[in-house]
């Protein structure tokens, strides 16, 4: 982000950059930066809070009047905390509980059963928001589940997305699976789930998380270097690995 500021200012276009990692701005010294104390992924602070976001934007825009850069100004209005997470508090729980199966079931069936129970919630999220982010692969969510289960089981998955490499298809499809679960988990207005809550739930409690970990192991053991890179670096978040010892 800082580099783009340098390139544009050198061409005479004034810029102001939002900064999420202050250290990066200190090192790269963009002409104007507003550091904000928000979670990665939330540069404007709070979703669905127009007043809060406007304060951030206004603070950034106000720096355009200055020409004494490089400068970094701190915007110190913290985002409200999410749901309580201490042991004494209830905290966030997923709106869906997954009943135990009647008998033994395969990982593929466990995934299907779990996803079927989440579909009404993801549909609700999509309806309320008027949009969905389950949009990377272009295939149905049932086809996403089938691919993940087959990949995790070591079966041949063929060419799931026409004209797309195996590695890129893996990335898009596994992104869609995660987006489906995230949208379902946060469907209820005022759900109070933090990013960490959703990560703990997905990677620690769901069949989908277990299946993706199995996919990661299979890809890591394979010969496709690009797929191996994606499976090892672009699948399981650092935060989830750290919190759950994955």
């Amino acid at each position: 982000m800082s580099a783009i500021g340098h390139y544009l200012e050198a061409a005479g276009i004034p810029t102001v950059s939002i900064s999420l990692i202050r250290l990066h701005s200190e090192k790269m010294r963009p002409p104007r930066a507003l550091w904000v104390p928000y979670e990665l992924g939330r540069p404007m602070g709070v979703p669905n809070d127009a007043a809060f976001q406007t304060r951030v934007l206004r603070a950034a825009l106000s720096l355009l009047a200055r020409t004494d850069g490089p400068l970094i100004v701190d915007h110190l209005e913290d985002a409200p905390a999410g749901a309580p997470t201490s042991a004494e508090d209830v905290g966030w729980t997923c709106p869906v509980s997954f009943p135990a199966p009647a008998g033994e079931e395969t990982p593929a069936l466990a995934l299907k059963r779990e996803m079927d129970s989440l579909k009404p919630w993801q549909a609700l999220a999509q309806e309320r928001r008027g949009r969905t982010t389950v949009d990377q692969s272009g295939i149905s969510i049932d086809a996403v589940a089938d691919y993940v289960a087959r990949f995790a089981a070591g079966e041949d998955v063929g060419e799931p997305l026409e004209g797309v490499t195996a590695a890129e298809a893996f990335k898009r499809i596994t992104d869609d699976l995660q987006a489906f679960y995230q949208e379902a988990a946060t469907a209820q207005p005022g759900h109070g789930a933090t990013h960490a809550d959703v990560l703990d739930w997905f990677w620690g409690q769901t069949a989908a998380g277990k299946q993706l970990l199995a996919c990661s192991e299979r890809a890591s053991a394979g010969d496709d270097k690009r797929l191996k890179f994606i499976a090892e670096r672009l699948l399981v978040p650092h935060v989830a690995r750290a919190r759950l010892n994955l």
Partner: protein
């Protein structure tokens, strides 16, 4: 929350050791009062129109986002999994505050909102983006943009 000390050690270390070349100082370009500025957003969240292809690892090009693009047609295909996406799922303005910018224009606090906004995918080495960024100078100047808000994710 994005304070390094609040991040898990592995992620904090990753952030701490990312190559960040000192490119400055670059002189600040001047401009008219805010109420006369035409403002564009450039994001590095890997945003784009759903009708286009998403970003892949290493991509250094950009996507064009018309100001009037319906939210339902905006997609995020950043390759990283190390940031929150639930905020964007709830509200595009968390990373692409186009509605907030339009409200400031309606209130007369800024002059106007650019017709076109842009997004790169921030996991790419910035040095590889230089030519693509510089190719945007013409289109930005052609529509009179004299303020750009750069927004990471």
């Amino acid at each position: 929350m994005a304070r390094l000390e609040d991040l898990p050690p592995e992620l904090a270390s990753h952030m701490e050791h990312l190559p960040c070349p000192d490119m400055g100082p670059t002189a600040c370009a001047d401009g008219p009062p805010l109420a006369e500025r035409r403002v564009a957003i450039i994001s590095t969240a890997g945003l784009g129109r759903k009708s286009e292809g998403g970003f892949n690892p290493g991509d250094a090009d950009y996507r064009v986002i018309p100001a009037d693009l319906p939210a339902a047609d905006l997609t995020m295909s950043h390759i990283s999994v190390n940031y929150d996406r639930t905020g964007f799922q709830e509200d595009i303005n968390i990373a692409f505050p186009i509605e907030r910018l339009q409200a400031l224009a309606d209130a007369g606090e800024i002059g106007s909102v650019a017709d076109y906004h842009y997004s790169f995918m921030g996991a790419t080495d910035p040095a590889n983006m230089q030519s693509a960024v510089e190719s945007l100078v013409g289109p930005l100047q052609a529509e009179g943009v004299n303020a750009v808000v750069l927004i990471p994710v």
